[in-house]
Symmetry: C2
Amino acid sequence: MTIQDTMISMGRQAREASRIMAALGTGEKNAALQAIAEAIDGARAAIAEANAKDLAAGRDNGLDAALLDRLELTQSRIDGMIEGLQQVAALPDPVGEISDMSYRPSGIQVGKMRVPLGVIGIIYESRPNVTAEAASLCLKSGNAAILRGGSEAIHSNQAIADCIRQGLAKVGLPETAVQVVATTDRAAVGALITMPEYVDVVVPRGGKGLIERISRDATVTVIKHLDGICHVYLDDDAAADKALAIAVNAKTHRYGTCNTMETLLVAESRAAELLPPIAEQMRAKGVELRGCEQSRAIVSDMLAATDEDWSTEYLAPILAVKVVAGLDEAIAHINQWSSQHTDAIVTENYTKSRRFLREVDSSSVMVNASTRFADGFEYGLGAEIGISTDKIHARGPVGLEGLTSQKYIVLGDGHIRQ
Amino acid sequence: MTIQDTMISMGRQAREASRIMAALGTGEKNAALQAIAEAIDGARAAIAEANAKDLAAGRDNGLDAALLDRLELTQSRIDGMIEGLQQVAALPDPVGEISDMSYRPSGIQVGKMRVPLGVIGIIYESRPNVTAEAASLCLKSGNAAILRGGSEAIHSNQAIADCIRQGLAKVGLPETAVQVVATTDRAAVGALITMPEYVDVVVPRGGKGLIERISRDATVTVIKHLDGICHVYLDDDAAADKALAIAVNAKTHRYGTCNTMETLLVAESRAAELLPPIAEQMRAKGVELRGCEQSRAIVSDMLAATDEDWSTEYLAPILAVKVVAGLDEAIAHINQWSSQHTDAIVTENYTKSRRFLREVDSSSVMVNASTRFADGFEYGLGAEIGISTDKIHARGPVGLEGLTSQKYIVLGDGHIRQ
């Protein structure tokens, strides 16, 4: 069988399983999640052994320390997978939720019912715990899943896949409801993203290169998360203490996350007051500052920023700084350079806060809060399969609801159209 | 300039205009709609003249009577365009609507704001009144639009486009907010559906061939409506009068519409009672019946149905009929053969109605109502840009809300992440 054939066969089985998954009750899905958690708990030794193989191969192949760290399944990370499964079991079930049922003049009652998407393909890189996490979200939302992890984690992923199959089988569900691709051949990804008859949506999780490649080649809908070039704008009417706290938190709370601020915008009227203390705190934390001419006139040891800085996701202790005339220029800068992930204003002005919320076209727009809050857990989604920087279907943090859709339901009593 | 260049330039202008449109107030958008309606009213002679050119060309090119009828802009159809614009002006504005604002344990308040998608591409066939209709829906939902009508309606579409430009200019909005492609070259469509940097979503309206071609080639998201193979299932527990009325209405109210029933499923226990009177009424209306073996044993003058009948959208006075064992077989048949447009059950049984609603995976699922109700106006959307048989983003009738998305908004008082 070619890889293409294998993937089509997996797709067909996933499609069949998806019909069973869609009709399941909440209790059945939660029992499956619990059974998978127990299977993982009972297979700690096997998982550790498989993970050791991946780690050894990774070291042989010269993976760097950060990648090896992401790859490692310590006992506490295995605990984390088990807890994650239990947390997803505890989340409300979105499937079957009925809303907006209203009567129409014709006499019919019309509303919407939330339903699973069907089959979700997830493509991810090194972290093998994503296998359990992605499986749990797809399962709870009533979908079937085809998971394709990174080749460097193949043994770990297969060990976790064994546990998922055991858990599904234990509660009488089809093992094909969650399939983990067993080959490391890249052709499997190519097939997965080009079979819309079997796969309803693909969620790539990983570096920008992976996501761009998948978006370009996919014929299946992609829920994608490209970069996070996030801004904080300190308005003329910013409260100084909030401005300082939010700027420092948004940049330095963590450097490698997508909701970290990469560019700080400051209103001209406040730059001389606000930039020096911010620069001082940034300097104390080892953050390199790259500023426009006006900001360098205030804080002289900044490097000169270029257009490339406005469009770079540093994921590092580097911050671009720009002085703007006011709200209009701030919004224009953001709508030109932002990756439409998360942008925040610090202001005490009612009208300007309303304008910023309305006119900034990003998946999360904030007033007087750190961009670091843009996160499924912080938003109360319970879990997150990714953060979408797209506008179609799902925007911002994607939880269980993002893996569902709504159909119309119509209730009548023999109504016919006149 | 090549057509590719022309389209890119239109796309860039649309993207710029979309930022202005997104920030408009409801009153400004309604004023634009009113100004366009007045411009059309004042240009009746010019529109009629342009339409006469298209009709003459159509006759020369041997268009059939049905196509010529769709192409014609009578005075009453021009009235209809004007009323349509006024109706869209009267609809609630979806943009800026804030929902689900709740406080999180961290102290931030999180919710969603409805926002325009950005730039909508609409590709449609012969009916030139779609130009005004599509423009009005895109405008009211705060989007910019690029419209590409059928080549046979090019003069009519351009005359309407003139009115749209006049209306936009009169209220001080950019004329590039609604652009109507002036060339009949097919390369324009190819360009429009492959520039995701300028176009956020494409809505094709027309025959299955057009939609399949666009879906295959598009890199922009497509809200598509393929065929309408709709079913009515008469359950063991159907009330006979409702079964008869709904079956006859769903098939014979109109033959050429996508929400017309194409296959009737009847529970075995009721077939002998229900099929003869239905067949009699269908016969009286000139509907050709094509049945499975069991139904032909009851109504002897039916033709024999083949698998092709289960998968055909007749759009004609033809009905496929199948006797099924009961609810399970009905659902299985529908989930196998339905185009996931609209399917209905007729039953008095509570549990079976709940199962049908939950397990039939179609964009509209109905109990005791005619499939002919699946329509944006009947559902109270006020207007409809199309009916989506997809699951992603929008399902079923797509109104103003389907041309929008939701972003997260976060309100804080200086909150930082711990």
